[in-house]
C-alpha cells in the first residue's frame, strides 16, 4: 500500500512547471502546490474588468508568492491543513465535480465549478477550508495598493505624503 501510495503521489505531483528561480525561493509550498494556488487565486480573485485600465490580476500582484510567504510563518499544524486542502482541491475535488483532469489543468469555467462545489459543500470542513483559502487569496490580492482603486479605499495614512 505504501509503495502504491508513493507511486501515486509521484505521478500526481509531476508535470508542474515552475521556473527554478521561483521554485528555489519557495518557503512553505512545493512547486506543484504553488501552481494550484496560482490557479485558485486567478479564479477566486478573478477580475470583472479585464481591460488594460481594469484592476490588476492575481498574477500581477503575485498572490501565490504572498501565500507561500504567509504560510511559512504559520504554525506547522495550520500549514499542514492548508497543504491538505490544496491536495484535495487539485486531485479529489475535480473528480467529485465530474472531471478527470487535475484542477490546475481545467478550463477556467470548470475551475469555477470545482471551487463552487467546495464553497457549498455539504461537508462543514470543506466549506471552512474553502473560506480559509479564500481569505488567504484575498489577503494576497487586496494587500496591493493597485487593487484599492476598485474599492474607493484610500489606504493607510502612514507613509502618505502630507497635503
Amino acid at each position: 500500500v505504501g509503495a502504491a501510495g508513493g507511486l501515486l503521489a509521484l505521478v500526481r505531483t509531476r508535470g508542474y512547471h515552475v521556473p527554478s528561480e521561483r521554485s528555489d525561493r519557495l518557503l512553505a509550498l512545493s512547486s506543484w502546490e504553488l501552481v494550484v494556488v496560482e490557479h485558485a487565486a486567478r479564479r477566486i480573485a478573478a477580475r470583472d474588468d479585464e481591460s488594460a485600465s481594469g484592476p490588476p490580476s492575481a498574477d500581477d500582484v503575485d498572490v501565490a508568492g504572498f501565500v507561500d510567504g504567509y504560510l511559512a510563518r504559520m504554525a506547522a499544524p495550520r500549514r499542514r491543513d492548508v497543504r491538505r486542502l490544496l491536495a484535495y482541491l487539485e486531485h479529489i475535488a475535480p473528480i467529485r465535480a465530474g472531471n478527470v483532469d487535475r484542477f490546475s489543468r481545467l478550463a477556467p469555467a470548470a475551475q469555477d465549478r470545482v471551487l463552487g462545489t467546495l464553497e457549498s459543500s455539504s461537508s462543514d470542513l470543506l466549506r471552512e477550508g474553502f473560506a480559509g483559502l479564500k481569505a488567504l487569496v484575498f489577503m494576497g490580492y487586496y494587500r496591493d495598493p493597485r487593487t484599492w482603486r476598485v474599492l474607493g479605499y484610500a489606504g493607510p495614512l502612514v507613509g502618505r505624503a502630507a497635503p
Binding site: A46, E119, A131, F138, R143, L151, L157, G159
Partner: protein, 507 residues
C-alpha cells in the same frame, strides 16, 4: 525594562517575588500593582514588544504580528473564528476601546448563584473608578460618530429602539480608523500606553517573546513558571526558569486555562477549562446609495441595546454595534468569489456593516494542546443559535430603517434581502455554525471564581482553591458571559484582586 526573549543566547533563571503570565488588560494591572507594592516582579509575554512606530495600518502585516495564530485561531471544528491579541499590551493593542462596566445584574447573579463574594457593584466601584481614571475613559462625542455608526443610530431612531453613544479610552484620536491594527498615534490609553509604563516605573520587568509552558508547584504552593523564549519564527531559543512565591495567570481565558491544564494542577472537581463563553457574533451588510466610507473614523461609537437583557435565560441576549472592516477582512466576509465578488466589492465605500453579538449561555471548554496551546471546544446551543438569528434579523431591520437598498447576510448561499418585509418572512434556519461566518473577540470563563471549590477553580480572591500563591487575573475569572465588552471588567477585577496577590507575595 523590557527584554526580548528572541535575543537570548542561553537559558535564564530569574528569582523574583511574583511572576505574571501575560501583559494584557489583567496582566499589566497585576504587574503594576505588585511592583507598586515594592515587590520584585516580572511578566512573561508570549508576543513581541511593539510601539506605535510598528503599527503601519497594513492588514496583512498587522494580523500576523498582533493576533494569536496570525489571526487564524478558531474553535476545534473551525465554526467560530476567535480573534485574540498577542504582544506587550495583549488584546488592548487591537481592541476598539469600548468601555463598559460589568453590569450590576451580572454581578448580582455571580453573588447569588455562583458564590462570588466581595464583588458587588458597590465593592467594585473604587476599582472601576480607578481604572476609568487611569485610562481616561469618556463618552464618545456625537460629532465623532462616523457614517457607519450613524446608520445604526438612525436605524434605531426610526424603529424606536433603545440605543446610545459608547464610552472609550482614547485621547488625541486622529480618526484614522485603523484601531484594530494597533494605534499609530498612541491615542489608545491601553495597557501598552498606560499600565506597562507605570509598572516599569515602579520597578517591574517584562520579557517579551517568552511563552509559559508550565506552572511549577511544591506541596500545594506555586513556585514559579517554566517558559520558552522563541525567535521571530516561533522556534525555541532558550529556557526561561522563573522562581517566585506568587504566580499570576493573565494569559486570557484560553491561554491561562490551557496553561493550568498543561501544568496538571490539582483539580478534584474537573473544573479547569470548563465554562468557556465567547460572545459569538455575525455580521449583516447593508448597501446604500451614498458613500459611507465606514473604514474612516472611530469604528464603534454607537450601540443598540434594544434586544439585550442581562437576566439569565432571557430571550433578549443580543448586543448590536457597527463592525466595519478594512478591504482584506471585508473581502473574506463578502459571499462568493470571482468576478461577481469583485463587482460586489466595488460597493465597498457604500456599505454599512452591523454585528449581532450574543450574550451567550453555551458552555464550551478549553483543553491543553502541544506546548500548552489552547484547544477550544464550543458548540453553540440551540437557544444561543436562535439569539444569533434574531440578532441578524434585527441588524437587517436596522439597516433598512436607515435607508439600505439591499441587505446581505453572508451565508452560503448568501441571503439577499430587498426590504424589511422580506426580513419578516425570512426562515432563519440557515443561521447556524458553518452556515454563517461567526467570530468571537471575547473569550471568558474557564478558570471561574467562586467560593465553592466544587463549581469553581479560584476563590473570590482570585487564588486557586488548591494551589496557594497561584492567582488568576483575566477574563477566565468570570463565571458567566458579561454581555458587554470585557476589557474594563478585566482591568478592574485585576486591580480589585491584586491586593490578595500582594499579601501572599509578602508572605
Amino acid at each position: 525594562v523590557i527584554s526580548r526573549g528572541r535575543d537570548l543566547k542561553h537559558d535564564v533563571r530569574l528569582d523574583v517575588d511574583a511572576v505574571v503570565v501575560g501583559t494584557g488588560a489583567g496582566g499589566s494591572v497585576a504587574l503594576r500593582d505588585l511592583a507598586r507594592a515594592g515587590l520584585r516582579v516580572v511578566a512573561l509575554e508570549e508576543g513581541g514588544h511593539f510601539t506605535s512606530a510598528d503599527f503601519n495600518q497594513r492588514e496583512e502585516q498587522m494580523l500576523p504580528m498582533l493576533f494569536q495564530e496570525m489571526g487564524a485561531r478558531a474553535t476545534d471544528d473551525m465554526a467560530i473564528r476567535v480573534l485574540q491579541g498577542r504582544g506587550v499590551g495583549g488584546s488592548t493593542l487591537h481592541n476598539t476601546n469600548l468601555c463598559k462596566r460589568t453590569p450590576d445584574a451580572i454581578l448580582d447573579a455571580w453573588s447569588k448563584k455562583y458564590a462570588v463574594s466581595g464583588a458587588s457593584a458597590g465593592e467594585l466601584r473604587p476599582a472601576f473608578e480607578r481604572i476609568e481614571a487611569d485610562l481616561s475613559v469618556s463618552e464618545i462625542p456625537r460629532e465623532l460618530v462616523n457614517p457607519n455608526n450613524d446608520v445604526l443610530r438612525r436605524g434605531a431612531e426610526q424603529l424606536g429602539w433603545k440605543s446610545g453613544p459608547l464610552k472609550h479610552n482614547r485621547v488625541g484620536c486622529q480618526l484614522s480608523g485603523f484601531c484594530e491594527l494597533g494605534c499609530t498615534y498612541d491615542a489608545k490609553q491601553n495597557a501598552l500606553k498606560i499600565m506597562v509604563p507605570q509598572a516599569l516605573a515602579a520597578g517591574a520587568r517584562i520579557w517579551s517573546d517568552v511563552s509559559a509552558v508550565a506552572i511549577t508547584t511544591r506541596a500545594g504552593r506555586a513556585t514559579g513558571v517554566v517558559a520558552v523564549a522563541r525567535d521571530g519564527l516561533g522556534d525555541p531559543v532558550a529556557w526561561v526558569d522563573v522562581r517566585a512565591r506568587v504566580v499570576v495567570l493573565a494569559a486570557s481565558a484560553t491561554g491561562s486555562a490551557a496553561l493550568a491544564l498543561a501544568s496538571k494542577l490539582p483539580d478534584p472537581y474537573a473544573q479547569a477549562g470548563r465554562g468557556l463563553r465567547l460572545h459569538p457574533g455575525a455580521v449583516c451588510v447593508g448597501r446604500f446609495d451614498r458613500e459611507i466610507d465606514g473604514y474612516r473614523g472611530i469604528p464603534q461609537s454607537w450601540e443598540c441595546t434594544e434586544h439585550l437583557s442581562f437576566e439569565e435565560g432571557s430571550d433578549r441576549r443580543v448586543w448590536i454595534v457597527p463592525a466595519f472592516a478594512h478591504p482584506i477582512g471585508a473581502a473574506a466576509t463578502m459571499p462568493g468569489f470571482g468576478a461577481s465578488h469583485m463587482t460586489a466589492m466595488r460597493a465597498y465605500a457604500r456599505i454599512a456593516v452591523l454585528t449581532a453579538m450574543v450574550h451567550d449561555e453555551t458552555s464550551g471548554r478549553v483543553d491543553a494542546g502541544e506546548d500548552a496551546r489552547p484547544v477550544l471546544r464550543y458548540r453553540l446551543d440551540e437557544r444561543d443559535r436562535a439569539q444569533l438569528a434574531k440578532g441578524l434579523a434585527a441588524c437587517a431591520r436596522l439597516l433598512f430603517a436607515a435607508g439600505a437598498l439591499e441587505v446581505v447576510i453572508p451565508a452560503v448561499p448568501p441571503v439577499r434581502l430587498r426590504s424589511s418585509k422580506e426580513v419578516d418572512v425570512l426562515d432563519l434556519g440557515f443561521v447556524r455554525p458553518h452556515g454563517v461566518p461567526i467570530s468571537s473577540v471575547h473569550p471568558m470563563g474557564t478558570l471561574r471564581m467562586g467560593d465553592d471549590a466544587r463549581s469553581s477553580v479560584v476563590s473570590s480572591t482570585g487564588e486557586h482553591h488548591h494551589v496557594r500563591g497561584l492567582f488568576v487575573a483575566d477574563a477566565s475569572l468570570f463565571p458567566t458571559s458579561l454581555g458587554v465588552p470585557p476589557q474594563i471588567s478585566v482591568y478592574a477585577f485585576a486591580h480589585h484582586l491584586s491586593r490578595h496577590a500582594v499579601e501572599r507575595a509578602r508572605g
